[in-house]
């Protein structure tokens, strides 16, 4: 319960910068006065909170008042007390059992015949103090706003971790989509609250007897919105085979990074946005097809054509010399051929290299045309072997 409250507090950080987890109670205090201009009156905030928490799977009641304790009482009834002068009037009719008092005090008050809060409020302070000690009148003062009620504020954590015990065993990976979506939504709420983003999330699926299954989700760049993560999750789940039924799910985001929002234009055609779109495409493809399925290209300083390129990660710079007289395509492996089948159009271009890694070669390259009319790149090898090979296609 404590952990759930901690997570919820982090999630509520989107709505208020002052969140407090009161000790011993199943609830949270949020300061919303400062957010009223942005989010609307407290009633709206309360309703919105309730709806969004419902989507995450939490049932909640909300209420608001100028003081924390009065708000606690109001939440039970779903009241929204507008001003300090109305506190007395609105909580007066509530039953005494609603007050946050010790059970011994509650029983004593009931025996004395008090039923409603207003009965208690009408009593003189001195009598109350004499009978019940200073704590009770102090509490009443804090409810009414006569005394200030400072609270220790919640500090959002540096990482996120949540755990869900599934109500029934899940046998198919598709069945995990719904609970995981919810957990990711919760994570994103926490991220938004703290202005953070994540680039990788670790999901652990607990089985009854076997070891946990791990499902890491990686993104190309830090993200705050759940749609991107759900897209990657969907692809991974489609590929996932569950050895056994899943009973618990744990979601961890060990490092929270700072989030840079960036500008959004209407047509998404700035280079930065194009890059974002490509990153999302790459995420999607890699989630389904593997990390190596998507890459860029860059040049390598080597005279031998087959070694003069390599795949590069998208974030890496591309660096290559320009050689327009070379073919657009290289065959995966040079293919032996008979030069008499081809007509030589241009050449030779001597390439001699590679003595330092033991794969040295001496070749004369020619642009050739075959009897079908295709323009190809062939070479005559002098070292290490001898013969004619096809190496490229001038597409």
């Amino acid at each position: 319960m404590r952990q759930a409250l901690q997570r919820l507090a982090a999630w509520c950080y989107q709505y208020s910068s002052q969140v407090c987890i009161p000790a011993g109670r199943h609830g949270l205090f949020l300061e919303t006065g400062a957010s009223e201009r942005l989010l609307g009156p407290s009633e709206y905030i309360g309703k919105r909170l309730q709806q969004e928490l419902m989507q995450l799977g939490y049932c909640s009641m909300t209420g608001s008042a100028p003081t924390p304790e009065a708000a606690w009482l109001a939440a039970r009834e779903g009241l929204h007390i507008a001003g300090p002068e109305q506190i007395r009037r609105q909580i007066g009719p509530l039953a005494l059992s609603r007050l946050h008092l010790e059970s011994a005090q509650q029983k004593a008050l009931e025996r004395m015949g008090f039923r409603q809060v207003r009965d208690l409020l009408r009593l003189p302070r001195k009598a109350l103090t004499r009978r019940f000690g200073p704590a009770l009148p102090d509490y009443l003062d804090r409810v009414l706003g006569v005394r200030p009620d400072p609270r220790a504020m919640y500090q959002p954590p540096e990482s996120f971790s949540s755990r869900l015990d599934l109500p029934a065993e899940v046998h198919t990976s598709q069945g995990l989509l719904f609970p995981l979506k919810r957990m990711l939504e919760e994570l994103c709420g926490v991220l938004r609250g703290g202005d953070n983003a994540v680039q990788s999330v670790q999901i652990t699926l607990g089985h009854e007897a076997d070891d946990d299954s791990l499902l890491p989700l990686g993104l190309q760049s830090p993200a705050q919105d759940s749609d991107r993560m759900v897209t990657v999750l969907r692809e991974r789940l489609e590929r996932l085979r569950l050895p056994r039924a899943v009973r618990t799910i744990r979601l961890e985001a060990p490092t929270l990074l700072k989030f840079n929002a960036g500008q959004h234009s209407l047509f998404r055609d700035t280079p930065a946005e194009q890059k974002q779109d490509i990153e999302q495409l790459a995420e999607r493809l890699q989630a389904r097809l593997g990390r190596d399925s998507v890459s860029g290209l860059t040049g390598v300083e080597d005279h031998r054509p087959e070694h003069s390129w390599r795949p590069r990660a998208l974030g890496e710079r591309a660096d290559c010399i320009a050689q327009p007289h070379r073919p657009a395509w290289l065959l995966l492996h040079p293919r032996r051929c008979m030069i008499r089948d081809y007509e030589i159009l241009a050449g030779p271009e001597r390439i001699e290299s590679g003595w330092w890694d033991g794969r040295d070669c001496r070749r004369d390259y020619f642009i050739v045309r075959d009897r079908h009319g295709s323009t190809l790149w062939a070479y005559r090898e002098y070292k290490p072997g001898r013969g004619w090979y096809l190496h490229g296609i001038f597409g």
Partner: protein, 234 residues
């Protein structure tokens, strides 16, 4: 109030008899001689172009260099989905493509390849996607075309010779054939908005001495040929 003729002129999909479809947004091919014969005077933007050739190396990829270079310059990406060979970065760089904005996708499976192609076409706005599907159904082609339309992309599919006989919803279908004097003959099998015009002859003179090429002269120049050979008898 706009006049009727203005309306008719600007509606993109209206077929108007002899004139090629105006209003087709297009990306210039860089070969003026070819542009003159294409609706919109270029590669159709937001639609699929099929390039059919019996064998690779007839110039089907070379035709795209200008358009792909322009795509990169505009800050958009070129995506190659499962090319059958290795793209040679030095050559692509030499022809003006921006390596920074080139993405290579390798799936190793025909179905996944088509899926990746569709994802690439659906993603974002602008750019070009190139694919080499061995086999693709009419319905799938249609989906790719719709995806290209929605994201205003250039889509190029390189297909084997037998594809020429199949029906296709692609906006533009070109078939390339080796011609005389080291040139290539391009048959326009289908284009939007008009009856396909005469075949286009692309002449590609090559220098015998590669040193001249290395000195910076373009190796391949596309110029109108000395005379149009007669179209192939069907």
């Amino acid at each position: 109030m706009t006049s009727l003729s203005t309306l008719l002129n600007t509606t993109p999909h209206l077929w108007k008899g002899r004139q090629p479809g105006q209003g087709q947004r297009a990306c210039p091919t860089g070969h003026a001689h070819l542009d003159a014969h294409l609706p919109g005077h270029g590669w159709p933007l937001g639609a699929v172009t099929e390039l059919i050739s019996a064998k690779p190396g007839l110039g089907e990829f070379r035709l795209l260099f200008q358009a792909l270079a322009d795509t990169g310059k505009q800050g958009q990406w070129v995506i190659l989905v499962d090319p059958p060979w290795i793209p040679y970065p030095a050559s692509l760089q030499g022809h003006g493509l921006l390596l920074e904005r080139l993405l290579l996708v390798r799936t190793g499976d025909a179905r996944e390849s088509l899926w990746a192609c569709e994802q690439a076409l659906r993603n974002g706005r602008g750019g070009a996607v190139l694919a080499w599907p061995e086999q693709i159904s009419f319905a799938r082609l249609r989906r790719l075309q719709i995806a290209a339309e929605n994201s205003a992309k250039l889509a190029f599919l390189f297909r084997p010779e037998n594809a020429a006989r199949e029906a296709s919803p692609a906006a533009l279908r070109l078939q390339l054939e080796a011609g005389e004097r080291y040139g290539t003959l391009i048959h326009i099998l289908k284009c939007r908005g008009s009856r396909p015009p005469q075949p286009v002859w692309i002449h590609a003179p090559l220098t015998r001495n590669i040193n001249t090429a290395l000195a910076g002269n373009p190796l391949f120049a596309i110029t109108p040929g000395p005379g149009h050979p007669r179209p192939k008898q069907r």
